[in-house]
Amino acid sequence: MMITISTFLAEKGIYLLTFILLSLGVAGIVTCNNYMKKLICMNIMQVAVIFLFLCLGQKSKGTIPVAVEGLEKAADYINPLPHGLMLTAIVVSLGTTAVGLSLLLRIREKYGTIEEDDLLMRQELLSMEERQRRKQELQRIDT
C-alpha cells in the first residue's frame, strides 16, 4: 500500500501538486484585488517553479552534492546543476520583490489605496479633472 502510494507520488503526484501550487499563484495574481496579495502570490508562483526544477535532479539513493571520501560514482550524489540554477532564480525573485515593494509604496503614497478597482477609479477621476482643466485653459486662451 505504502509502496503504491510512493510510486504514484514519484511518477505523477508530486508534479501534480507542484503544478497546482503554480496555478494557485497565477490565479492569485489574476483574481486578487489587493496589490500586496498579488505580490505575495508572485513569490509563491516562483517557489513552485524552483521546486519543479529541484524535483528533476532528485536521485533516490543519492546524498547531498558535497564530495565525501569513498563515494566516487555519479549515482551517489544528487544532481547539483538544478541547485545552482535555482540559487540564481531565488536571487532574481528577491530583486523583483524589492522593486515591486518600492513601486507599491509609491502607489500608496500617490493614490492612497492599493486596491485595484479603487485605484482605477481614482485614475479615471484624475484624468477627468485634467481634461477639464485643459478645456478651461483653452477657453481662457480663446477669450
Binding site: M42, L56, T96, G100, K110
Partner: protein, 492 residues
C-alpha cells in the same frame, strides 16, 4: 586578443561602465555619464567588427571559461544575431546620448543611478541576443525586464501603476519561460541550445515540445506584447520615462521575438509533428494583433498612445513571418525587426524632442510644427511613410518579403490582412502628417529661449534614424543576403 574575445567583450564593457557609474558620478558630475556613453560606443564599434568577422568566417562559437560545450555557457554568434547586436548597440548609443536632457534631478545619486540603469538595459538586451544557453537567456531576460520596470516607473504617477502591472505580468511570463525550460531540461538533460536541438531531433520528443510550446507562446507573447497578451503594453509605453522611451519601445519588444525564433526554428526544428498547428496559432495571433493594433491606434488623440498601439500591430508583422516560415518570409520579419526598431525609435525621438521643446504630446497641438522644427518633422515624415510602406523606405521592403513568402506558401489571407493593416496604418499616419504640415498653427510657446532647433546631442539621434531608415531601404538586398546565410538552413 580583442578579436578572439569579441562576443563577450561587447557585453562586459557596458556592464563594467554600469557598475562603476555610481562611483564615478560621485567623483565628478559628468564622469559617470561620459563613461557610459563611451562604453556603449566601444561596444558599437566592436559589434561592427564582429559582423565583419561573421560574414567573412562564418558563425563564432565562444565558450566561456573554456569548458567543453554542454558543460559551460556558450555564446553563438551567427549572421542573424550579429546584425541584431549592431542594431541594439546603435540605438543604445544614440539613446544614451539623447537621454541626458530629460534628467530633472541632478543629484549625483540619482543622475548616476539613471545612467546605470540605461547601461544595464543595453547590457541585458545585448546578452539576450548573443547567448546560446537556455538558462542564461532567462537571467538576461530578467535584467532587461527589471531595468525596464524601473525606467517605466520613472515616468510620473501613471508610470508607476503601469510599471507595477507590467511587473506582475512580466513575472508570470518569466515563470512560464522557466517551466518550459524545466520541461526541456527534464527531457533532454542539457541546457545548451545546440546540444538540445541535436537531442530533440534524435528521438520522439513531440509531446514535450508541444507542452513546452504551450508555455513558451504566452511567455514570449507577454514579453513582446502580441495580441491576446498585450494588456500591459499601451499604458507602459505611453507613460515610460521620456528619455529612454525610444530604447524601450524600439528594441525591447524585438528581443523576445528573436528568442522565440531561436526556440521554434533552431531548437525545435521544422520537422516535428505539431509544427503546422503551432504556426497556425501564431498566425491567428499575429493577424488579430495586426488588425486590433491598427484599429485601436486610429482612435487615439495622444501621439504616444497612438504609437504604442501601432507597436502591437507591428509586432504582429514580425510574428507573421514566423508563422509563414519560409526563408524569405523569415528574412522579411527580421528586416522588419531591424527597420521597425529605427522607425519606432525615431518616431519616439521626435515625440520626445517636441515635448522637450513645447511640452505637449497632444496630436491637436501639432499644427504646422514643421516651420519650427524642420529636421524633426523630416524624420517624423520619413518614419511615418516607412510605417505605411512607401517604396524607398525600410517598411516597404520588409512587407514585400513577407508578402512574397506568404504567396509562396499560398497563404492568401495573410496577404489580404497585410494590405488591410497597411491601409489602416496609412489612415492614422496621414492624420499625423496632415496635422504637422497642413493644419492651422496652434501657437505653441517654446519652453526654452530662442536658439537652434534642438541641442546637438538631440539632433544626432534624429539624423542617425533618418539615415538608417533610408539606408535599410536602399541596401535591403545586401542585408537580406547576410540574413539568409543563417535563415537558408533553418526555414521550411
Amino acid at each position: 586578443m580583442i578579436e578572439n574575445n569579441l562576443p563577450v567583450l561587447i557585453i562586459i564593457v557596458p556592464l563594467c561602465a554600469a557598475l562603476l557609474c555610481l562611483l564615478l558620478t560621485g567623483i565628478n558630475r559628468h564622469l559617470g555619464r561620459a563613461v557610459v556613453v563611451l562604453a556603449v560606443l566601444a561596444s558599437l564599434v566592436m559589434s561592427v567588427m564582429q559582423l565583419g568577422l561573421v560574414i567573412k568566417n562564418g558563425p563564432i562559437h565562444y565558450a566561456i571559461g573554456n569548458y567543453k560545450v554542454p558543460f559551460g555557457i556558450e555564446f553563438v554568434i551567427d549572421s542573424l544575431n550579429a546584425v541584431i547586436i549592431v542594431m541594439i548597440s546603435t540605438i543604445g548609443f544614440i539613446s544614451a546620448v539623447y537621454a541626458d536632457h530629460f534628467v530633472t534631478d541632478r543629484r549625483p545619486l540619482l543622475h548616476g543611478a539613471y545612467n546605470t540603469i540605461i547601461a544595464l538595459l543595453i547590457t541585458g538586451l545585448l546578452g539576450m541576443a548573443s547567448t546560446g544557453d537556455v538558462f542564461n537567456l532567462y537571467v538576461f531576460l530578467e535584467i532587461t525586464s527589471l531595468s525596464a520596470y524601473c525606467l517605466i516607473a520613472l515616468g510620473g504617477s501613471r508610470g508607476i501603476v503601469s510599471a507595477y502591472r507590467y511587473m506582475l505580468v512580466g513575472t508570470i511570463a518569466a515563470t512560464f519561460y522557466l517551466v518550459a525550460a524545466a520541461l526541456l531540461y527534464g527531457a533532454t538533460g542539457t541546457l545548451n541550445m545546440d546540444d538540445m536541438a541535436k537531442i530533440l531531433s534524435s528521438g520522439d520528443y513531440d509531446t514535450v515540445m508541444l507542452l513546452s510550446m504551450c508555455f513558451l507562446i504566452p511567455a514570449f507573447g507577454i514579453k513582446m506584447a502580441l495580441f491576446p497578451f498585450h494588456g500591459w503594453q499601451p499604458s507602459a509605453y505611453t507613460h515610460a520615462e521620456a528619455g529612454t522611451r525610444p530604447l524601450i519601445t524600439g528594441v525591447m519588444g524585438k528581443l523576445p521575438a528573436y528568442a522565440m525564433f531561436r526556440f521554434f526554428y533552431c531548437i525545435f526544428g521544422t520537422d516535428f509533428r505539431y509544427v503546422r498547428y503551432l504556426m497556425l496559432a501564431l498566425g491567428v495571433f499575429s493577424v488579430c494583433s495586426m488588425l486590433y493594433g491598427s484599429l485601436m491606434a486610429m482612435w487615439q488623440n495622444d501621439i504616444r498612445k497612438m504609437l504604442a498601439y501601432s507597436s502591437v500591430a507591428q509586432i504582429g508583422y514580425i510574428s507573421l513571418g514566423f508563422a509563414i516560415g519560409t526563408p524569405i518570409a523569415l528574412a522579411g520579419s527580421f528586416l522588419h525587426m531591424i527597420g521597425h526598431a529605427f522607425m519606432k525609435g525615431g518616431l519616439f525621438f521626435c515625440t520626445g524632442a517636441i515635448r522637450y521643446k513645447f511640452g505637449t504630446t497632444d496630436l491637436n497641438d501639432f499644427g504646422r510644427i514643421y516651420k519650427k522644427m524642420p529636421l524633426t518633422c523630416g524624420l517624423l515624415t520619413v518614419a511615418a511613410l516607412s510605417m505605411i510602406g512607401i517604396p524607398p523606405t525600410a517598411g516597404f521592403f520588409s512587407k514585400w518579403y513577407l508578402a512574397s513568402g506568404a504567396a509562396d506558401q499560398h497563404y492568401w489571407i495573410y496577404i489580404a490582412v497585410l494590405v488591410i493593416s497597411s491601409l489602416l496604418n496609412a489612415v492614422y499616419f496621414f492624420k499625423l502628417i496632415e496635422k504637422v504640415f497642413i493644419n492651422e498653427d496652434a501657437g505653441l510657446k517654446d519652453k526654452w529661449s530662442r536658439g537652434p532647433e534642438l541641442p546637438l546631442t538631440m539632433l544626432i539621434p534624429i539624423v542617425v534614424c533618418f539615415v538608417a531608415i533610408l539606408g535599410i531601404g536602399l541596401f535591403n538586398a545586401k542585408i537580406v543576403d547576410v540574413l539568409l546565410l543563417t535563415l537558408g538552413e533553418v526555414g521550411l
